[in-house]
């Protein structure tokens, strides 16, 4: 009995550990590591990228002698304080496009977790059969190199001297900037109500702005309130216009009587730089067949813009704002160097969009 029970317990423990080993996908991982098929080779590369095992990932490139290792790493980990430097590869989808037995193309959709939210990147990867396994043929665009130059800085800046915390009512103070919501449109989407529109700073000083929207019942009571969060340019220079968008997930227009809009403005320190030019704006379909507004961003200032954020408002033929979409660009904007962007919009909206207006928000890391 004593041997039987002891052996049974040892055996059962080992069996249970083995079951869990299988369940945790270890076998699958082992299979992928053999890179027997094109998509397994890509999966292996991406799994190594995900775990930041750069040496192993680089060793898996068929053309490693032609690919600069730093350049390869920067493709995933970013540089110049761009959004990629705040991102980590969280997951990926891989599916083969075509293969001729020696060369194959695999499409990947990389899901990054970033400091501003999730970010997807679709990329087609060439794979080559080499020996017993498939290896990745990596193509990286050369990183732009800036010529040494001196760019004079003569930008405008506003500073504000705030009152203290003491309540000194009736004493001279500087009023909040005058801002005005110039348009508002409530749009029903399948899963939500979306309030879109534009706001302008009518004052002669910069304004911090935020737009709140409250859905109201017929009796005027509030149903819920949301704000524009990052779907707005919060700092508006004098006479600058920003699109805004407020989402109400789970609500339908039939549930509400009206919407109360509330534009908050504050006087804040601000700078007139950087100026970003948006060139080559076009509505077109991307590689996945989705309608996007694409173009290039050109930083006309001398400092690097680390994270650009594109906000686009779309108008129908009557000039009414019908949609606002946004997107973060994962590359930094070097001075005078175009960087492409694309923000998507629903197909049904695209068919009504007559024209559009793009505004660029920016994050400049003061420490960089």
């Amino acid at each position: 009995m004593k041997w039987t029970l002891a052996i049974a317990i040892f055996a059962a423990t080992i069996v249970l550990v083995i079951i869990s080993w299988f369940q945790s996908g270890a076998i699958e991982r082992r299979r992928i590591s053999s890179a027997d098929t094109p998509d397994e080779a890509v999966r292996l590369l991406l799994s190594r990228v995900k775990s930041h095992n750069w040496d192993a990932a680089y060793a898996q490139l068929a053309n490693s002698s032609y690919v600069d290792k730093d350049n390869f790493i920067h493709t995933f980990s970013g540089d110049d304080g761009s959004l990629r430097t705040y991102a980590s590869l969280e997951n990926y989808d891989v599916w083969p496009l075509h293969s001729n037995g020696r060369l194959a193309t695999v499409r990947t959709k990389l899901h990054y977790s970033t400091a501003v939210g999730p970010l997807d990147d679709v990329r087609d990867i060439q794979v080559e059969h080499e020996g017993d396994a498939w290896k990745v043929l990596w193509s990286t665009a050369a990183l732009p190199k800036l010529a040494p130059q001196v760019i004079p800085v003569n930008y405008l800046r506003w500073d504000v001297i705030n009152r203290g915390a003491a309540d000194d009512w009736g004493v001279q103070n500087v009023d909040s900037p005058r801002v005005r919501i110039v348009s508002m449109n409530a749009v029903q989407r399948p899963d939500r109500i979306v309030i879109v529109g534009e706001i302008v700073n009518e004052d002669t000083v910069p304004a911090y702005v935020d737009v709140n929207a409250t859905l109201l019942h017929a009796d005027g009571s509030a149903i819920t309130q949301e704000n524009s969060f990052d779907k707005i340019s919060h700092i508006l220079l004098p006479k600058q216009v920003s699109p805004y968008r407020v989402d109400f997930p789970g609500y339908r227009l039939t549930q509400i009587k009206s919407v109360r809009m509330d534009a908050k403005s504050m006087l804040v320190p601000a700078s007139a730089d950087p100026v970003i030019e948006v060139t080559g704006q076009k509505l077109q379909k991307d590689a996945l067949g989705k309608m996007v507004l694409s173009g290039d961003l050109v930083n006309e200032s001398g400092a690097i813009v680390n994270i650009p954020h594109v906000l686009a408002s779309y108008y129908d033929s009557n000039g009414k704002v019908i949609w606002v979409s946004d997107g973060y660009v994962d590359q930094a904007l070097l001075p005078q160097t175009p960087v492409s962007f694309a923000v998507d919009l629903p197909d049904d909206i695209a068919s009504q969009a007559h024209t559009y207006h793009v505004v660029v928000n920016s994050f400049v890391n003061q420490a960089s």
Binding site: P238, V278, K282
Partner: protein
């Protein structure tokens, strides 16, 4: 029966205090003034004074008056004076504000576009030295002095302590000092009268290297005031390559943007909700 009545009267007389005190206060007292409450009868006991900013308790000895220092009644309003020994007696009195001695002056906005009717408001609240609102009528003298030399004044009586006026901003951008005076006290606020919306926004273009430079004429409002630097002017160019937009701030009176042009291009300009002229430009050089 007589015995019974005599007994009852004796009992009542015994039950009554020897001297039932009564308090008498002046009915109308100015804030911060010393005064006394007259006591008829026995004033020995505990004295309470309850008012808007007061809750005082003290023992008082026999005497015909209870003196109240002005520091106990600095806040205007109704007061309760209570004297308790075996039982409590009380009186009420009202403390009104002292003479108007200071002002709260609310002037809005601190920045106003030029030539805007009734755009500035000034509200003055007359207060005494204890920050009580002076409800009695007082005359507030409003005056406006612009740094370009013009000035105006207007006297306005208070109604329940408040006097107010509205003003139209000047046609020229400048600072305006708005003052209100009551008695010897004057309060001043400054309002910046700033340029209004851009007027007749006009752009021109020229080539520099391979880029087209588009720039505005000096940007002014309809009264000829320079629109402040930092105001955003939006340039939009449409050509074969698509649409290009630049939001450029005005620097030294003009806004400027460089744009690549492919083929023929149409360039427009706007500042806020104000639209300017359009340019049609030929192909790139």
């Amino acid at each position: 029966m007589r015995t019974v009545i005599t007994w009852l009267l004796c009992s009542l007389a015994a039950a009554m205090p020897a001297t039932a005190a009564e308090l008498h206060a002046p009915k109308d007292i100015a804030a911060g003034t010393d005064f006394s409450i007259t006591v008829n009868g026995d004033s020995h006991g505990t004295f309470y004074l309850i008012g808007p900013a007061t809750a005082e308790k003290r023992s008082v000895e026999n005497g015909s008056e209870i003196s109240i220092p002005g520091t106990d009644i600095e806040k205007a309003g109704n007061y309760q004076a209570i004297l308790c020994s075996d039982e409590c007696v009380s009186t009420e009195f009202y403390v009104h504000a002292a003479e108007a001695d200071r002002l709260s002056l609310l002037v809005h906005p601190s920045r106003v576009p030029v030539a805007t009717t009734n755009a500035i408001s000034a509200v003055a609240i007359a207060l005494d030295r204890f920050h009580n609102i002076v409800f009695s009528h007082a005359q507030v003298d409003f005056s406006v002095n612009s740094n370009n030399g013009s000035s105006a004044s207007h006297a306005q009586p208070t109604n329940r302590g408040i006097a107010w006026i509205r003003l139209t901003s000047a046609a020229k951008a400048s600072s305006a000092k708005i003052s209100a005076a009551v008695g010897d006290t004057t309060e001043t606020r400054v309002v910046e009268q700033v340029a209004s919306e851009a007027c007749n926004l006009h752009i021109k273009s020229y080539w520099e290297a391979n880029h087209l430079v588009v720039q505005t004429d000096p940007v002014r409002d309809c009264s000829g005031n320079n629109v402040p630097d930092g105001t955003v002017v939006s340039f939009t160019k449409t050509d074969r390559s698509g649409k290009t937009t630049v939001d450029a701030p005005i620097k030294k009176g003009i806004a400027k943007a460089e744009m690549p042009v492919v083929g023929n291009a149409r360039i427009s300009v706007a500042s806020g909700v104000v639209l300017g002229n359009e340019l049609n430009v030929g192909g790139a050089r």
